[in-house]
């Protein structure tokens, strides 16, 4: 069983939804990333989504764009991100790490080389925003033992969910609104209505993300989804904290969300 699978199996046994915070690797600087990851795990993150900085983050709003720019100022590239994951793995072998980013850094490294290196570093899954199933090389990743996570959106027709399912492993990620990361206006009832269809067509846990900004919303989503992804709100916390209180402030926020989610009756 993969680390992602066993994490979801355990959560299911505990009747809980997964909490998945997102950070950009190298933000605010590369020395802090592994400490942030440990802090997130200690505060109750079940899976960590680690953003790979990219010069042209087309699907991201201003907050995550700025995080990418901060990381790129330090020259953080895909190989550095893998090194960070390997360092995290030295003391944490339980918390799955999913890389989230864009095609070109992986394309540039080569899909096979990347898959091998990612598996070696202890990466569990890869979500490439701009690689839909038609262009995916999921089989190369799964051969290396790395899950391929796909996005589903409100505009995805039901039949297409099956196509995604044929390539997906680990979990699928439902984008809860039309727009880029960090946008507002989440319609919870609308989101909730999509989840059963996706779950039945995919047979995989369904995470929900984009636009989740507080513990109350996270708890509401935890009622019907298998995982809650929080991105821009976490990145804002990093952006607004003095360097030496980043980990403490993140811990406080994630703990709050964790407590609210734990109180949910599912």
């Amino acid at each position: 069983m993969s680390r992602i699978q066993s994490t979801f199996a355990q959560l299911k046994a505990d009747n809980k939804a997964a909490l998945i915070p997102f950070i950009t690797a190298g933000d605010p600087d590369p020395q802090l990333t592994v400490a942030i990851m440990h802090g997130l795990a200690a505060a109750g993150a079940d899976i960590i989504e680690l953003g790979v900085p990219f010069s042209d983050p087309m699907a991201d709003g201003p907050t995550i764009q700025r995080a990418s720019e901060r990381a790129l100022k330090h020259g953080v590239g895909l190989r550095d991100v893998l090194t960070m994951v390997a360092e995290f793995r030295q003391t944490n072998t339980a918390t799955p790490v999913v890389l989230m980013g864009y095609a070109n850094p992986i394309e540039c490294m080569g899909y096979r080389d990347f898959a091998t290196a990612a598996a070696q570093a202890g990466v569990d899954g890869v979500l490439t925003v701009d690689i839909p199933p038609e262009e995916s090389v999921a089989e190369i990743f799964s051969a290396a033992g790395v899950d391929t996570i796909f996005l589903l959106s409100p505009t995805t027709p039901d039949v297409r969910i099956n196509l995604v399912a044929s390539k997906a492993s680990g979990f699928v990620y439902y984008v809860s609104l039309k727009g880029v990361t960090g946008s507002a206006n989440l319609d919870l009832a609308e989101v909730a209505s999509h989840i059963p269809v996706i779950r039945s067509r995919c047979g995989l846990p369904v995470g929900v993300g984009f636009g989740i900004r507080d513990a109350v919303t996270a708890a509401k989503i935890a009622q019907f989804a298998d995982a809650v992804v929080i991105g821009s709100r976490i990145v804002e916390e990093i952006e607004n904290s003095p360097r030496d209180s980043v980990v403490a402030n993140l811990t406080q926020f994630v703990t709050e969300v964790r407590i609210a989610m734990n109180a949910v009756v599912r």
Binding site: M58, A59, G77, C108, P132, F150, T155, R160, V175
Partner: protein, 399 residues
């Protein structure tokens, strides 16, 4: 497959092209592809397109023999395809009319566009006014400054111009921002992409709409001098004016096709915008093609005196034409383009766009090596009125 039958059903030109976008846009691209499949076979749609090109754009655009200048260069005869004489002053309008007619068919009342030089922005604002649509144009903050006359033209035409201050503040960042708008407003909005790039079906439909350029040349050249040219030269930013004139000639095997990229300070300096000459394959803006990038796959900053060529990628069909050898690609530096700009002004009384000046500069290079009965056809993709501030600044003159 014959060379002109590409792309395949998924938008691939060999290993290039494809659809590399976030899931939210997949349905919109499917809808566009289906609508275009129907429209291109619909005689009413095609006849309206041709009617607009004739009566609104002023097509066919003439081919002009630049005799005095050819004599001065002392070699091949240079003919200019006068896309600069189109309404709005460049080839861009051919494509925006086609896409706006599609938008209208699809019931979209809001159009968005990215622009570099501002020519595509102006052409989009123009058709939006013509068909009564709301228009938002994204433009890199640096380009807003260097192409200010076009910014005002867009505003006069009723468009909203949004300066983009992220990244390198040029065309690629404008494209990122247009994509973000599209993801957010996908139900109401039609994205009028300005060059033969982006996710399928854009490279194909932009090529098809721009192919009117080459199709006219196919009949005009024999009418004028009884034969086809020996070579065709066009500048390549994203590649729309070049593919428009190349595509109808792909099967004319005796006609050399030469694309000219922006060499900036010189390809060897790294400060340029010439992905076909000095880049490597990668994925950006929804498609696979040659890109300018670093060892980490980050997109490199580009440099060109011409805003319309200042782009780190290139349309996928050009990548494929390069690999198959059917077309050749070269780079022309800023100073060579500037010299050609001034030459055309003085020898022929034509002020060319800085983009087009790159194609003209390559003709300057090769015409003298050819005999006097050989013929070069240069795509004069646009007029240079928009560039006079830039040119004056380089000459140290304040207007």
């Amino acid at each position: 497959m014959r060379i002109s039958e590409f792309p395949d059903a998924h938008g691939h030109f060999g290993q290039y092209g494809g659809i590399f976008v976030a899931e939210t846009l997949i349905a919109a691209l499917d809808e566009l592809r289906q609508e275009y499949d129907v429209a291109r076979k619909d005689p009413a749609f095609m006849s309206e397109f041709r009617h607009e090109l004739k009566h609104y754009v002023g097509r066919p655009s003439p081919i002009y023999h630049a005799k005095r200048w050819s004599e001065h260069l002392g070699g091949a005869q240079i003919y200019l395809k006068r896309e600069d004489l189109n309404h709005t002053g460049a080839h861009k309008i051919n494509n925006t009319i086609g896409q706006a007619l599609l938008a209208r068919r699809m019931g979209k009342k809001r159009v968005i566009a990215e622009t570099g030089a501002g020519q595509h922005g102006v052409a989009s604002a123009t058709v939006a006014a013509r068909y009564g649509m709301e228009c938002v144009v994204y433009m890199g903050a640096d380009d807003v400054v260097r192409q200010s006359p076009n910014v005002y033209r867009m505003k006069l035409l009723g468009a909203t111009v949004v300066p983009v201050s992220s990244g390198s503040k040029t065309l690629k960042d404008a494209l990122n921002e247009a994509m973000r708008d599209w993801v957010t407003n996908v139900a109401s909005t039609f994205y009028i992409l300005g060059t033969a790039a982006g996710p399928h079906p854009y490279p194909m439909l932009v090529r098809d709409f721009q192919s009117v350029i080459g199709e006219e040349c196919l009949t005009q050249m024999p009418e004028m001098l009884g034969r086809q040219p020996d070579a065709i030269i066009a500048c390549v930013g994203g590649g729309s004016n070049a593919i428009g004139i190349f595509h109808p000639y792909l099967h004319e095997k005796n006609v050399r096709l030469i694309g000219v990229e922006a060499g900036g300070d010189g390809v060897s300096t790294g400060r340029h915008a010439a992905p076909l000459s000095a880049g490597t394959p990668g994925v950006l803006h929804g498609f696979r093609s040659y890109l300018m990038q670093d060892d980490n796959g980050q997109i490199a900053e580009t440099h060109s005196v011409s805003a319309g060529l200042d782009y780190p990628g290139v349309g996928p069909e050009h990548a494929w034409l390069k690999d198959t050898g059917r077309a050749e690609y070269v780079a022309i530096n800023d100073d060579e383009a500037m010299a050609a700009f001034h030459d055309l002004c003085r020898f022929e009384g034509i002020i060319p766009a800085l983009e087009s000046s790159h194609a003209i500069a390559h003709a300057v290079k090769i015409a003298p090596t050819m005999s006097k009965d050989q013929v070069l056809l240069v795509n004069l993709s646009g007029r240079g009125d928009k560039d006079i501030n830039t040119v004056a600044k380089i000459a140290g003159i304040t207007l």
